[in-house]
């Protein structure tokens, strides 16, 4: 009996509707990722749209299956965010002394606001693993695929970035 082609197969053969259907559930996490990385919702939507178009253009090079589509697409979104930031290059950000404003472990509403400010002070590459792991709730191996590093390296990056937000974090808590 002849099998019907999957959505991925149809997309790979040029069916834009199938591709749109495949990435539709990924748009929300992609937007969240972009919004946190860029701190700008309009720019985030632009980045997601551009990433979707790039993913569509390069789908033939994608060697995974539907299960790895999310990490592939999110890595394109992250790259698109970097590109967006690149266009703002030379707008050197001068920040107040970070040490003086480092948050405490007490996460009262005020402290949550401190946490947000602390997140805002993280570099783009520091935010990325935190968003993937803590916010989008991706498993560690998928975080690693998105970052294109080993799971051990991904864990290390999450830990290092999270430690900038919470000084007493232990490596075991990032597992």
């Amino acid at each position: 009996m002849e099998q019907r082609p999957t959505a991925m197969e149809r997309a790979t053969h040029g069916d834009a509707d199938s591709f749109a259907m495949l990435i539709d559930p990924l748009l929300q996490p992609a937007f969240r990722l972009a919004a946190v990385m860029l701190s700008d919702r309009a720019a985030a939507e632009d980045a997601v749209q551009e990433a979707a178009v790039k993913a569509w253009s390069n789908l033939r090079r994608f060697r995974g299956d539907e299960s790895s589509l999310r990490s592939w697409f999110l890595s394109i979104v992250a790259n698109e965010c970097r590109m967006t930031r690149r266009r703002r290059w030379w707008s050197v950000v001068k920040m107040a002394d970070v040490e003086a404003q480092r948050h405490t472990d007490d996460l009262s509403p005020e402290a949550t606001s401190d946490l947000r400010r602390a997140v805002g002070r993280l570099s783009l590459d520091e935010r990325l693993p935190l968003v993937l792991y803590f916010y989008l709730d991706l498993p560690l191996d998928e975080v690693a695929r998105t970052l294109r590093v080993s799971p051990a390296a991904a864990k290390s990056r999450i830990y290092r970035a999270a430690k900038r937000l919470r000084a007493d974090l232990t490596l075991e808590e990032v597992s």
Binding site: G14, A16, D17, A20, I23, L27, Q28, F31, R32, A35, V36, S39, R41, A44, E45, V48, Q49, A52, V53, W56, S57, N58, L59, R60, N79, R82, R85, R86, W89, V92, V93, K94, M95, A96, D97, V98, E99, D105, L107, T112, L115, R116, V119, G120, S123, L124, D125, L130, V131, F134, Y135, R148, V149, A153, S156, R157, L165, R166, L169, E173
Partner: protein
């Protein structure tokens, strides 16, 4: 605070930052996709890219050879001494080079004092490889230049501090104290200093302000350099191309 509580709080902070996408995003993406056909590389496209690459290589080689002929450190006119040795020789005369300046001094950013600085450089390679580190002293400033292959690091940050003691990186723990009374911590992500660089990782310069520069981390894509200063000083940071490099000037 428990792990779940931390996860919850950080999610809330991210939620505050992102919110939800507009309901039109899905339709907007579908519309963009329907307008864009999948790329199908063809002979014309490939020829265009090949021609562009060849032109870039030729221009790059010409510029690089021209700069190398004249410059001692691959930096703008009035740039640093380029002694690769740990004890770099000062050239206080710093007569302007006759080579074309990649970035004229008048275009350099102003010195900043006591502020952290973050740069998000344009290229986003998976890893930028440090290929050279040099120091030099010039009238008005001391300089450290870090050269890269494969583009600039993903991010670069500079944090001034009031001592020359730095937390040791690479998960080793402990502190590292270098020469000086103040310091600047230079952190580069998506960078690697062990693949393409085998030169000194500790420069005891003895310059007027920049007393020592020492690598304190090269681990998991993070490279950190600790700069020991004779006293707290203003600095400026910028990047140059051909070759790609990060330049930090410490005001004397």
């Amino acid at each position: 605070m428990s792990r779940e509580s931390f996860r919850h709080e950080i999610s809330r902070a991210f939620d505050d930052m992102s919110g939800s996408p507009s309901p039109a995003l899905s339709a907007r993406v579908r519309s963009a996709l329907s307008e864009k056909r999948q790329a199908r590389p063809g002979p014309i496209w490939m020829a265009g890219v090949a021609a562009g690459l060849i032109a870039l290589i030729i221009v790059g080689v010409l510029v690089a050879s021209n700069l190398n002929r004249h410059l001692t450190g691959g930096v703008p006119a009035g740039g640093p001494t380029t002694s690769p040795s740990a004890v770099a020789t000062a050239t206080p005369s710093a007569s302007p080079s006759s080579s074309p300046s990649a970035t004229p001094p008048s275009n350099l950013p102003a010195f900043v004092c006591g502020l952290n600085t973050s740069l998000s450089p344009p290229p986003a390679p998976l890893t930028a490889y440090v290929s050279d580190v040099r120091t030099g002293t010039h009238p008005g400033y001391d300089r450290i230049t870090i050269t890269f292959t494969n583009g600039l690091p993903g991010s670069i940050s500079l944090k001034p501090q009031n001592s020359a003691t730095f937390a040791s990186g690479g998960g080793k723990g402990g502190n590292v104290t270098i020469v000086g009374q103040a310091g600047i911590l230079v952190t580069m992500s998506s960078a690697d200093e062990h693949t393409a660089y085998s030169g000194p990782t500790d420069f005891k310069t003895g310059y007027a302000v920049l007393a020592e520069a020492r690598q304190i981390q090269d681990f998991e894509g993070y490279v950190q350099w600790a700069l020991g200063l004779q006293h707290a000083a203003c600095y400026r940071v910028f990047t140059l191309t051909n070759p790609t490099r990060l330049v930090i000037d410490i005001q004397q």
